[in-house]
Symmetry: C2
Subunit: 306 residues, 2 copies
């Protein structure tokens, strides 16, 4: 049975050449397959999604991280997305025939090796967290790269691997394990970041919004509009349609139209099913009722090859 882990590393760069060199490390790795990558100037951030076996994921993720530490200088970095390092966050996600514990182990090995080889301090988060507060990426990222030097020396913020001292050009890295999540960005028809923040706030878990949702506002200079960037960590409990409808309600308050939206990274099928089921009131829609998945399952189950 084939094992599949997904890894979605986030790097603090939008330089095309650096992006290419980082992505190249996936191509060089046997049994590692690139699914998707996005980067843009306003976040100044590269988000990569790739899959493969446990062994290949660890190998490729480490080589990408080494490359990023070599090429990215955080002292020069500006961007609207919170970050503390060149290799900002590296989650491992169980997809098939792999447990969450396997992914926790991958994160630990990744963190340990990165710290040892590059001297980058590493924090474990999510399912790999060693303390309850470290479950949360935002807690670890508090103060961002700019205040990392003062934060990292606090006993409560001692890194899980490496020195309690920021790497001058690479900052620090967060790695961990988590479930598949949905990244979803909604563009709204205003250039006013203050209003965008007012719309993002009531969606955000920590500010009284939906549990499982993080929402932030960013300005998109090319289009002179703003974007509500969201991550929905448990989209089965907090389905996207519900978050979207609430975003619409809040935007309507300021007469701001919804311009469009997009998944940041891959769209999980279950998230799409929940959207379709809600709006069309479909009673019995499950993943195995989707033609393409049913065919895959039927053929695989029987184990027949032609």
């Amino acid at each position: 049975m084939r094992e599949i882990v997904e890894c979605v590393p986030n790097f603090s760069t939008s330089d095309a050449e650096t992006v290419e060199l980082i992505l190249n490390e996936i191509k060089k790795t046997k049994n590692a397959f690139l699914l998707d990558y996005t980067f843009d100037d306003y976040y100044n951030r590269l988000v990569v999604s790739f899959v493969g076996s446990k062994k290949s994921m660890l190998e490729a993720a480490l080589n990408m991280a080494f490359k990023a530490v070599e090429l990215i200088d955080m002292r020069q970095h500006k961007g609207q997305h919170p970050r503390i390092g060149a290799v900002d966050v590296v989650p491992f996600i169980p997809i098939k025939n792999v447990t969450m514990d396997n992914c926790v182990e991958l994160a630990r090995k990744f963190g340990e090796t990165l710290a040892k080889k590059c001297g980058v301090p590493v924090y474990l988060y999510g399912e790999a967290a060693t303390k309850p507060e470290r479950w949360d990426l935002d807690w670890i990222r508090e103060g961002e790269y700019e205040r990392l030097a003062e934060m990292i020396v606090k006993p409560k913020r001692k890194p899980d691997f490496g020195p309690a001292k920021l790497h001058p050009t690479a900052g620090a890295t967060i790695t961990g394990a988590r479930k598949v999540m949905a990244g979803f960005n909604v563009n709204i028809g205003t250039a006013d970041l203050k209003i965008a923040k007012k719309i993002a706030k009531p969606l955000h878990a920590k500010k009284g919004g939906f549990s499982n949702v993080k929402a932030m506002a960013a300005f998109i200079p090319e289009e002179n509009i703003t974007q509500i960037g969201m991550s929905i960590t448990d989209f089965e409990r907090t389905p996207l349609y519900r978050v979207f409808e609430m975003l619409k309600v809040e935007a309507a308050r300021y007469n701001i139209p919804i311009v469009g939206s997009e998944f940041c990274g891959m769209a999980p099928l279950k998230a799409l099913i929940d959207i379709a089921a809600y709006y069309l009131k479909i009673d019995n829609l499950t993943e195995d009722r989707v033609l393409e998945i049913a065919i895959q399952n039927a053929i695989k189950k029987e184990g027949v090859s032609e």
Copy 2:
């Protein structure tokens, strides 16, 4: 490269024992895989969906048809869905590494063999049609089983295979080839079939509705409500959300609520994507941006096995 054909035969029965014997023929066939089947009393109709290689599809479809001809007596048959025979309609659908022409050929072989072995008159429809008017299932089915004896002797209605004479217990059969379509049923909160018909009518292509859409109304006695049963033959051109929204508009005219809906058979992924993209205004959603499909494609493309 594995070839995949889907076959979705419709039989005029809802007798559990008959259903089981018909489905058994799939199990007996190598490289044929059952995806789904539904049957109910009000339509008195069994709809099966199964996939496999060309050879296995032809073999299984024929054996299922032989079994249905043996067991079903159309003289006893009552049901709300239009039908002309025990083996009412047998479409072959290209899914992967198979052309529409391959499926036309399968339909011809199926029809020829069924006519020869059982003496059942067979019409070709859809992409396999031999005359333009026979493209349309409804044209062929006009008058249904009850008037088949008088219709079949008209020169324009000469069967493509077999005698121009109905088989007394099995009626006639329609076979052909077509693209994947979506079967979609919406339950509405009225027991009044007259109103349900008024809501179905403006959706139906031939009655001024959407091209690619057939819509009919049926009464569901168990729940004392009615159902708008639809088939959308080209759901890329006529997406489901559009049909659903128009159905809502028509139902609102009579103050009838939408109770729920369901796919009849499998839900094509592209249909779900179009629904999600419409309601959440998603700009860039394609099949290969769905996580489960992207993983499948990435791994297959590289052709690596572990």
